[in-house]
Symmetry: C2
Subunit: 237 residues, 2 copies
């Protein structure tokens, strides 16, 4: 029995037990729960349960705590206009930057470019991160936390063809007007002012730029975002 | 029966079904799976299953995709020394900044301060974000993505009392030495150079600073991180 096995594992000095249960065998999750197991996580066709056996407080690792949303501030430098949308299905019609949730395994800049294209039909290229917001117990995140990142994008196409399902309106708006209008969400309004500062005095004043590094163990590359570091410091050895 | 209910829901034009199942009733998850339901997520004592009934591709929202790790680069400006640790249980002993995973609902800066204190016994205060790294299919994240943020912290205590369970070594090291040593992880080495640049030429060259804003609907405050925005731009109306 499971009760007997748990007693034996405890006696043998194990401090944690993990169970992986295919969804069609979920009756075992109920049986395990009656022995004190709880869900660690579940996805698609299986669940993972844990039981902490140690005397001291649990050191079981948690599971993913954040969803990541990314928006694109697409600025046409030749006209000083920025791409904005109004969501369909909102009580208050406020201008905001197009964006959405990142897909599993998707890089920040790729999410911004994809979401901008899906919502507005505009093609663009990632330039930098402008801002990062963290919110907890997010209503749209099943009680989890939300990380919302706004990127600066450079457009490579200009004819809007927006998604009627998601957007009520979509237009190229004077950046100066977006920075001043009352009809924008507070974060859009604030980041519009930041972008205006960069547009007028140089993007090097506002950009959080990206560099790629080789990961030690996997051989893959990872992206690191930070303020620009002069060559003379990068090459210190 | 569930099969009958699903047929009716489909006929009535519903496009998605959500089931919330207490862990002790998990046999219903198996029954639902045989009707095509899959796990959306599960936590502690309950699971949530979904079934997409729409003709078009699923628009079901995902679940949390990222864990957030935060480290603290604690610099004693009076000596130019920075707090570093070596993990116990690693094959290669490399210096790094103390840090760990954020708890549910915990702000970035609070995670950095808490983890630094738990690992090293040093008390500190959050000053800014220095860097953000995104990695996917992270081995320590059950295949989910990892967001790793390094913060600049200012120490308010200086006597090390490090956690023997987590750390092999802990010391105040010359920042200049950390920027040059081969015995540091690549990201530590890179951020040490960034911190050295800030220490020598002004932290305003490297900081991503934090401002608090009232959230529109909840009345709570949220934290927004971006480059410093001059007063003259902040007050545009």
């Amino acid at each position: 029995s499971l009760a007997g096995a748990v007693a034996r594992w405890r006696q043998e000095g194990h401090i944690a037990v993990w169970l992986h249960i295919p969804i069609l065998q979920s009756r075992f999750a109920a049986a395990a729960a009656s022995q004190g197991f709880t869900f660690h996580h579940a996805e698609q066709g299986s669940s993972t349960l844990t039981l902490w056996l140690g005397e001291e407080p649990s050191r079981l690792p948690g599971y993913a705590t954040h969803q990541v949303g990314v928006a694109g501030a697409v600025l046409d430098e030749s006209t000083g206009k920025v791409l904005v949308v109004q969501d369909r299905n909102k009580t208050r019609n406020a201008w905001k930057f197009p964006g959405g949730l990142s897909n599993p395994g998707e890089d920040i800049g790729d999410t911004a470019v994809r979401e901008v294209f899906e919502e507005t039909g505009i093609k663009s290229e990632f330039k930098s991160i402008l801002s990062i917001r963290q919110q907890h117990k997010h209503p749209g995140a099943f009680g989890k936390s939300d990380m919302y990142i706004i990127c600066r994008l450079q457009p490579s196409s200009f004819t809007i063809s927006f998604c009627q399902q998601e957007c009520l309106r979509c237009e190229w708006m004077d950046l100066d007007e977006l920075a001043r209008t009352k009809h924008a969400t507070p974060i859009t309004s604030h980041v519009a002012k930041l972008l205006l500062y960069g547009y007028q005095e140089g993007f090097d004043k506002i950009d959080i730029t990206m560099r790629e590094f080789p990961a030690v163990y996997t051989g893959l590359f990872y992206k690191l975002y930070h303020r620009e570091l002069p060559e003379s410091y990068r090459n210190i050895t």
